[in-house]
Structure formats: structure tokens, C-alpha cells
Symmetry: C2
């Protein structure tokens, strides 16, 4: 559960010149091609969630194929750099995540995303383990709302 004394939520600003991607790929011996960089740069240029089509449309002028976008999104998901979000209409969106434990606050209208790091579900998880016998592997917490711009 959340700490009752929490008074400040840490928000992550996406760094458009994020260097972690180079080392992340290097560590795993995965080639970092210009296409993969372009796709990652697109995701980190704004704090928004996008569909695969959004990404493809935005970068296809550079002759990057749709299959490459799918393949790259898949790699970034597995590396934990991207998160999958399914909106209320069932549309699949992807958004960059900062490293560490974060949850998204998502605008229903424009898909603007703010990551926050406050979340302590350990007591709830212990309770569930005790009462159900399940082994807990993880959780997904997403908060939906409307951002200040879209309220106007």
C-alpha cells in the first residue's frame, strides 16, 4: 500500500537524447540500427502513447517498413523500454517508460502520458499470497483521466 506520508510524486521527464538505449542494445548484443533509433526517438520526442500505425505514418517518409515497426516495438517491449496500453476502446497503444518502477497516468483524449513512481502494493500482495496461495509475479496499475489541455 502507499505510504501515508507521501507528499511528493516523482514524475519522469522523457529525455529525447536518452543515451540508455545505446548501452541497453549493446549489453544485449542487439544491433542498434538507424531504423531502431528513429523509432525510439519518435517515442521519446513526446510523452504520448501511439499505435503502431501512428509510428509507421510518422516515419515512413524515411522508408521504414511497417514490419520493422512491429519488430522493433516487440524488441523495445521485451527490453522494458516500451509499455503496452489498451485504451477503453480496445486500441493497442505503446509508450516509452522510464527505467525503474513506474505507472502511467493516461489522458483518455489525447493519450498524453505522465509516469509516476508512487505505488506500494506490498501489503495487498502479501494478503493475497496468504489468502489465495498464488505466487505474485507483478502488477499493472494504470490511471486514466483527462489532461489539463484536453479539459479546455
Amino acid at each position: 500500500m502507499l505510504d501515508d506520508n507521501v507528499s511528493h510524486v516523482m514524475f519522469c521527464k522523457h529525455n529525447s537524447e536518452c543515451k540508455c538505449i545505446e548501452s541497453a542494445f549493446a549489453e544485449r548484443r542487439i544491433p542498434l540500427t538507424s531504423q531502431r533509433k528513429a523509432i525510439w526517438r519518435f517515442f521519446t520526442a513526446n510523452t504520448h502513447a501511439y499505435t503502431v500505425q501512428d509510428v509507421y505514418e510518422a516515419i515512413k517518409s524515411r522508408r521504414i517498413g511497417q514490419a520493422t515497426v512491429y519488430r522493433t516495438v516487440c524488441i523495445l517491449l521485451e527490453m522494458g523500454l516500451l509499455r503496452r496500453i489498451v485504451d477503453s476502446a480496445g486500441i493497442t497503444l505503446f509508450a516509452a517508460v522510464q527505467p525503474g518502477h513506474n505507472h502511467p497516468l493516461i489522458c483518455h483524449k489525447c493519450h498524453e502520458i505522465l509516469d509516476f513512481d508512487v505505488c506500494d502494493l506490498s501489503v495487498l500482495e502479501k494478503l493475497l499470497v496468504a489468502q489465495t496461495g498464488y505466487t505474485i509475479q507483478g502488477h499493472r496499475l494504470e490511471i486514466f483521466g483527462v489532461c489539463p489541455k484536453c479539459q479546455a
Copy 2:
């Protein structure tokens, strides 16, 4: 945030003879056909999450079309009787929800689901409102693990 004194989680047992569906459809003046009943009965017979294909395969002997399953799942989702879950592989699953505020505890292996009702994110939500200016509309909290049967 969760109440620190919470000592008991309320779990919902799905009631296979659930009558609420009749009144839920009647209230909205939506015809409750035999196909819709069959689909709902399938979801409430077990506490599992299923794909549309699972449902279709299970009941197609009764000459219920795939389109009907899609259309019915859509209605049940909108009525709040079903919830959509996307597993880690990106597969879309649906599961019955008890009325009221519940969250699912999902087995990664067999898709067995237990609903729990303990979740108080009001302090976190207030904090987010104060610090971001977002209007909060709702949240999704899902906990993933492995059920006792699958651990064996």
C-alpha cells in the same frame, strides 16, 4: 491508498445461476436472447479469462456465430459485466466481473482469475490531481501471478 488495518480481502465467487443478467438487460431494454445467455453462462461457469475464440469454440456446437460472440462480448463489456485483460504476450482475454469495484488476480499460466475488492487509491489520485491538473476518471489494477494448481 490501502487501509493499513485491512485484514481481510473480500473475494467474489461467481454465481453460475447469476440472476443479475436478466435485470441488467431488462433495465436497459436490451433483449436477452438465448445466445447471449449461453455466452454469459460460459463466462460464469468458471473463474477463468477466455479469448473470443475460446468462447466461440466452446459453444459453436449450438450454431452460435463468431460475430455474435464479438457483438455480445462488446455489449457485456459496456455493461461492465465483462472485463478485458491483455496478457503479457498481448493476447486479449475476457472475464466476468462481479458488480462493484473489483480487481483481478490473474494466473499467468491457466488464466484462472480471482477478483478482490481491496484497493484504495484515493490518496494517490488526489496527489496526482494536485500535481498534474489531470481529472481522474478511473484506474486499472491487475495483479499477475501463478495459482496454486499451476505451481504444482
